[in-house]
Amino acid sequence: MLKIENLHATVGGKEILKGLNLTINDGEIHAIMGPNGAGKSTLSYVICGREGYEVTAGSVFFNGRDLLDMSPDERAGEGIFLGFQYPVEIPGVSNMNFLRTALNSQRHYRGQNDMTAVDFLKLVRAKAKELDMDPEMLKRPVNVGFSGGEKKRNEMVQMAVLDPCLAVLDETDSGLDIDALKIVAKGINRLRNADKSILMITHYQRLLDYVVPDFVHVLADGKIVKTGDRTLALQLEEKGYAGLDIAGNAA
């Protein structure tokens, strides 16, 4: 599904990713952990095409197509979803309007017609219910006045409605209490099937108690330095990065 080879990327002239390789196959869940400044968020932004993140070498292919040639909205149309570490507030745009515009934009990209208003309403209400979101929140402006947990829940509802092939979740679990964390885990697990893949970027192994990954990678200094199964996350939790001889790169 996703094939990243020798990826080098700079932000503001500074090299952050320094030859990263990662392959994610259909149906797999990968977790990326790593010390602060290792390049975890940069990786998610590069996959999703954020402006200001410049790829200087390497390639990223998604289902055989070159992602680096595509705009962020085209990548979304291809089926990539980015769960934000800090979901953005958009005053004046209701959640409902936002979701409908997003879904129909993606449908247009795929050559499909708009979803009918009735079908859309049904879909959104069902997804909101599954993830315990108060339907009133759908009428409110996107993320405005939402608590940290509510914002992350909103990300999960968006993900459920947009139904991506690949979800890249950038520290979706950070700053959440245990109840909110369970909701996020529920959102991820509901997406999980043989055709979908998930890339979870996380600081803590806590989320991995609820969403069991197929692979755990350690990202340090712009490269993946260690790959293992879920036990690697437990080792990290116990011994820390330093204990596994992985240097931080916070400087």
């Binding site: 954020r50 909205d73 958009i90």
Partner: protein, 431 residues
């Protein structure tokens, strides 16, 4: 600085319209005399610092002819008329009342009169803002027509009254000067929607002064949509007096004209009253919008709120000058003001000059003015969900302006407002 004095044309203008409107000759002559004393405000007048009227000394505007091509007039009428509102419609063409297209109010307690039909009746009301400014006097001297709407006490007018001002393509280098008078009696309630529309290419000077009085407990909603042609000069003044327990809601949309100047001058004449002014101004290349508001909190326990949003594309210019004066004994005043401008391009210029003059204790006043660009984080968030750049920008700009629509009680008017704004944004490639 007296620019207009150098221009002999003004005397000719006056000669041309003097004979019309019998019964007002003295009043107009006096207004003309005051105007020639003070002249057009020059660039050193603080209130006019963002709109230079120097060009008026070089350009001669003659009173416009009454008629125009029927097909063109019809087209403008259809564009401006909100058909879903079944109320009365009053049409002015090139500054003159047009009976054919109008359907006047017939409801009991709603008294409507036309200036050119009965000038003597306007004598008293025309003195309302006499001498308040030289342009106000110029309008009084050269006015060709206008209307007066009187709502009797306790009458709740069923449908909004629509007033449509059309400038035809025959108005090249013409001036259109009209007058409006609105009075709501004690406890009366009414809504008015005034639309200004005109020929895309013609250079004309539209100039309208309105005076509004709200008696005790009255409630007025007054919307103004400015869709003049791109070479037009558009100037309006709206003077409003709001008595105790009365509410004045004004919403304003500036879309057209090369130069627009909107003055909203408000005074509280009683306690526990409220004034809400909101508006949006959208400007593109060669276009300048100047919004000038004043709220005189002369009485205690009153509330005012101002909310303006501007969007400027490359080469567009705007000014917001909002002044709130809280008099010495106006305790418990609550006054809010917010003006935000979004620049779609670095080559646009927005000026904001909020002024708060507070002479009373125990008041709550706030103001905020910002000028900014589309937020890149918001833009990326929307794009990451599948919206292309134009759609994402359009949604953000629309959302930015939408705060102004949210205030509109009448959903049909709000819809029209949204349509106009969205149409503008689409044309600018921002939607």
């Amino acid at each position: 600085m007296k620019l207009y004095l150098d221009n002999p044309q003004i005397e000719t203008d006056f000669e041309a319209v003097k004979a019309s409107l019998p019964g007002l000759a003295d009043l107009r002559r006096q207004a003309m005399a005051r105007f020639t004393q003070s002249g057009i405000p020059g660039p050193k007048v603080e209130e006019w610092k963002y709109t230079n009227l120097g060009f008026l000394a070089r350009e001669n505007y003659l009173p416009a002819g009454k008629s125009g091509r029927q097909a063109e007039i019809r087209q403008f009428f259809d564009q401006a008329h909100i058909k879903d509102i079944p109320g009365p419609v009053v049409v002015f063409i090139n500054g003159y009342f047009n009976a054919d297209l109008s359907s006047l109010p017939e409801e009991d307690g709603v008294d409507f009169s036309v200036l050119s039909h009965n000038p003597g009746n306007f004598h008293q009301s025309l003195q309302a803002s006499e001498g308040s400014s030289s342009l106000n006097d110029l309008n009084r001297a050269l006015v060709t027509d206008g209307y007066r709407l009187d709502i009797a006490p306790d009458v709740d007018v069923e449908h909004a009254v629509q007033i449509i001002h059309i400038a035809t393509s025959g108005t090249e280098m013409a001036s259109l000067r009209t007058r409006g008078q609105v009075k709501l009696g004690r406890g009366a309630k009414a809504a008015i929607i005034e639309t200004f529309i005109g020929a895309e290419e013609a250079r004309y000077w539209f100039h309208m002064i309105s005076d509004m009085v709200l008696e005790s407990g009255a409630c007025a909603s007054f919307g103004q949509f400015q869709l003049q042609g791109r070479n037009a000069i558009h100037m309006t003044e709206l003077h409003t007096e709001v008595s105790d327990h009365a509410t004045f809601n004004h919403v304003n949309l500036q879309l057209g004209a090369e130069i627009s100047r909107t003055e909203l001058i408000n005074s509280f004449t009683g306690e526990y009253a409220s004034i809400n002014l909101s508006g949006a101004y959208l400007g593109r290349a060669r276009q300048s919008h100047d919004i000038f508001t004043r709220i005189n909190h002369d009485r205690p326990n009153c509330k005012s709120r101002q909310l303006f949003r501007g969007v400027l594309d490359k080469g567009g210019k705007s000014a917001f000058q909002g002044k709130v004066v809280v008099a010495r004994d106006a305790r418990k005043t609550n006054a809010d003001q917010s003006d935000k401008t979004l620049l779609l391009d670095r080559g646009a210029v927005a000026n904001a000059k909020p002024e708060l003059l507070i002479y009373a204790d125990d008041v709550k006043c706030s103001h905020g003015a910002t000028v900014g660009e589309v937020d890149p984080d918001q833009l990326f968030y929307l794009r990451s969900r599948g919206l292309d750049e134009d759609a994402a920008k359009g949604l953000l700009v629309e959302a930015f302006v939408s705060e102004v629509f949210d205030d509109l009680e009448n959903e049909r008017v709000a819809e029209k407002f949204r349509q106009y704004a969205a149409g503008w944004l689409r044309k600018e490639g921002a939607l």
